[in-house]
Symmetry: C2
Subunit: 481 residues, 2 copies
């Protein structure tokens, strides 16, 4: 079976063919690290995590790069406004790199908590300043860049005549030129050759904090540049898949593509498949801090198990808008519980001598793969697992061997969707309430003279890291360090 | 009371006076991120963590930078050999930045697990390539650098005549010049003006992977350069405290100091206090992988609670060699348990009407501060806490108010040493063994007709995230997701 992916470049669902036989190289636009990860970011990263896991499951060797933007992303995507990191740092009265240091650690922690597979490289923009300056130089040398007053622009019309622009997304150059797309900056300066030219390198105001010396004076890189530079540095001039959110459809990805071609003076598309995930709404509206419907991953993880969130992400197709709300979470929580119930049923089953679940296992896997092959249809893939759990619950008289096979296959396919489905999570601490109950019970057992059982209580508590001590007719307890 | 610190620059214990009234700026040499953190690294970082916590406790506002070296540290500290990151990555068949991405995440995770306070900035060498190239340019301009065949050297003798070298440590320039210190590279090339000149920028062999274009051709920074650049970038040309391991005494810190002076053409010392922590041995010998006495923090955290490790680090003075071994850990574990016992005693005490512990609290705090003021004498500081716990155990007839004050002061001072001393760590999962015991007990209670108590068991388990279900005369349980 072959995987088909919806390619935003061609606006078609296409069969996926990697450049190398069994290696797949993916670049994903990651976090601008000025604020906490929110549920919309997480949904997008979960989509590419599933892409990575599914390709791995199909036998590919995946090299996955997701960048961390710590400089150059302005508050307005069209080269206007303040640097997002710098602005937020000023609000918090922090050094920009102090904010970045804190946020990077939080991001890594939360990505791990969300069971996202570690990316091979998470390059940071500030870590590639020399490479970015070199890239601007190449683009100028290749005739697609020009400098005015310390700012270097990309000559979009010149590029368009040879290679086409924007190519990614549904707008065309005429719409963009006349501003009919409504997305061209109104604050355009007169110095640009054309209003749709964008900045590769931006001359820094004196009060701008994050700036670097360059052949064009002190400045900082345009937002799009880092992805061109880091993508090609770690994946080569031409690679397989580039992913991002739908908000990258314009201007980020068309500009990145143009830069990649201009840097290398390429005659071919630098990336074969461009994938975009849709927006999330929360409580029926666009997520916004002022409306109080802004959900950070940190807050959500306080309230929900990561698996509920991953189940939510897998429950909708990545190219469909989805609303995040309490009710939706309850539904997925219920489904997750159904899967766990089935796994526990298997765990607790005595097992018989039937073997008819075997063919259902195969059927589930086939359905799962068909769904995933169809542009990563995760809701349908999940549905194949849900259907199978019903079969298992009715087929607990199958042999223990078949049942265990069923369990492992559920865990394997659930794993592709980012679930863990672990029945055992040991090593935790026993809650105080349970300790006190057990001490009461032990007291009763001793009164009744059942010292064996009372000792068993003490032993179990000790194994759980709790020491109990009887003195002056009272039992005290403490956790051992 | 005033803090005195042993300053390796002057070889004297000196009163600490910050440059700004209440702000302290610290730079600590951090991890070369090619391999897992080992217990020796952790001991050093714990020393500077305690320095930071103690200064904060004394009312200073601390800005603490610890770098992460991801390029430029060669296998031989004297500009010879391979880049450590690149070498290790090749062994593991990874891209260098793939290894770095993995190790940075691990490092952050383990630092957090060890209860190290987050540093304000953890700058990475690759994130400061432009700044390093600029620094080399300044050093050449100021007359202390010269280029030969794409490599730029620092002119040590010229620098020495004006500013003195090495200054940090006990060797003098004559010893170094003749190699009597035994630490000058034997593999010196003839191109250098003097064998003690060191590299600022190193010309890259064609097969070298991590290299950047520069005014002197493709190359990479010398190891010492990053600390000069990142220290001054985040802390200014002159700052308060610079820390590192004793292995940085030569050549790293003398070279860093020389660069800082040469970059800014300074007439004064760039750093007021240089602090160095001593080596650790393990099982009585120099730690080494081949000898099997190499302890990574990751492995230790599997086996020991972080607090046992922090207690071990606090139990010896940072300028004393210490041996890490099972027996030493058992001793500190015993002491940690004594502190916890005391806290539990307070927790469980009914309390009387005495108040004589008040003066002992003050005495403990005074002793603690005196010890810490004396070049961070953590073993003595810890001892003041240990002594106090004995007083508390005999004084449990003090009022509950005084006892609680005692408890809080123990936790506060323990916190300065990096301990948590938390009595409660909730939110964990109840171990399976305990669940099964409780189900057995519930069964017995039901048989005896004590349904209230049986229901309490069910309720407690439910609160702990465990559902039990009775069917077909059997009780099954599962964890709720």
């Amino acid at each position: 079976m072959t995987l088909k992916l919806y390619n935003t470049l061609t606006r078609k669902k296409e069969e996926f063919k990697p450049i190398d036989d069994k290696r797949v190289r993916i670049y994903s636009c990651g976090q601008t690290i000025y604020d906490d990860m929110h549920v919309g970011n997480a949904r997008t990263y979960a989509a590419w995590d599933i892409l990575n896991r599914y390709l791995t499951w199909k036998g590919y060797s995946v090299f996955h790069v997701m960048n961390i933007t710590d400089v150059g992303h302005l508050t307005d995507d069209l080269d206007q406004g303040e640097d997002k990191v710098e602005k937020k740092a000023k609000e918090l009265r922090l050094e920009p790199m102090e904010l970045v240091t804190e946020q990077v650690q939080r991001w890594y922690r939360e990505m791990k908590s969300l069971n996202m597979k570690r990316h091979n490289v998470n390059p940071r923009a500030t870590g590639h300043m020399v490479e970015m300056i070199e890239a601007v130089r190449s683009i100028i040398e290749n005739g697609y860049g020009y400098e005015i007053n310390g700012t270097v622009y990309f000559d979009v019309m010149k590029f368009h005549r040879k290679h086409g622009y924007p190519k990614i997304g549904s707008m065309d150059i005429e719409q963009l030129k006349t501003g009919a797309g409504g997305r061209v900056s109104e604050d355009e300066t007169e110095e640009k050759k054309s209003p749709i030219d964008f900045a590769l390198w931006i001359n820094a105001d004196p009060e701008h904090l994050m700036k670097w010396p360059s052949p064009w004076g002190k400045g900082y890189p345009g937002w799009h540049l880092e992805c061109s530079v880091m993508g090609t540095k770690y994946l080569g001039e031409k690679f397989d898949i580039h992913t991002g959110g739908i908000d990258h459809l314009f201007p980020h990805h068309p500009n990145e593509r143009a830069q990649n071609i201009a840097m290398g003076d390429l005659d071919e598309e630098p990336v074969n498949y461009w994938l975009h995930s849709e927006h999330i709404t929360t409580d029926g509206e666009k997520m916004s801090k002022s409306k109080g419907n802004f959900y950070t991953v940190g807050d959500l993880l306080e309230k929900y198990d990561f698996e509920v969130l991953r189940m939510f992400f897998a429950s909708s197709h990545y190219r469909k808008q989805v609303d995040f709300n309490e009710e939706a979470l309850e539904t997925v929580e219920g489904n997750l519980e159904k899967i766990y119930n089935t796994l526990w049923n298997i765990e607790n089953a005595k097992g018989g001598d039937k073997e008819d679940l075997e063919k259902d296992i195969e059927k589930m896997e086939k359905r799962f793969e068909e769904a995933m092959d169809n542009d990563l249809d995760t809701p349908k893939a999940l549905n194949s697992i849900m259907k199978f759990t019903k079969k298992v619950n009715k087929g607990l008289d199958n042999s223990k061997e078949v049942l265990n096979k069923a369990k492992e296959k559920i865990q394997e396919l659930g794993g592709v969707l980012g679930l863990k489905l672990d029945l055992e999570t040991e090593g935790g601490k026993i809650p105080s309430e349970a300790i006190e109950l057990m001490i009461d019970i032990r007291e009763d057992l001793r009164k009744e003279g059942d010292y064996d059982e009372a000792d068993r209580v003490r032993k179990v508590l000790r194994n759980a890291g709790v020491e109990i001590e009887d003195s002056e007719g009272k039992t005290r307890w403490k956790r051992t360090p």
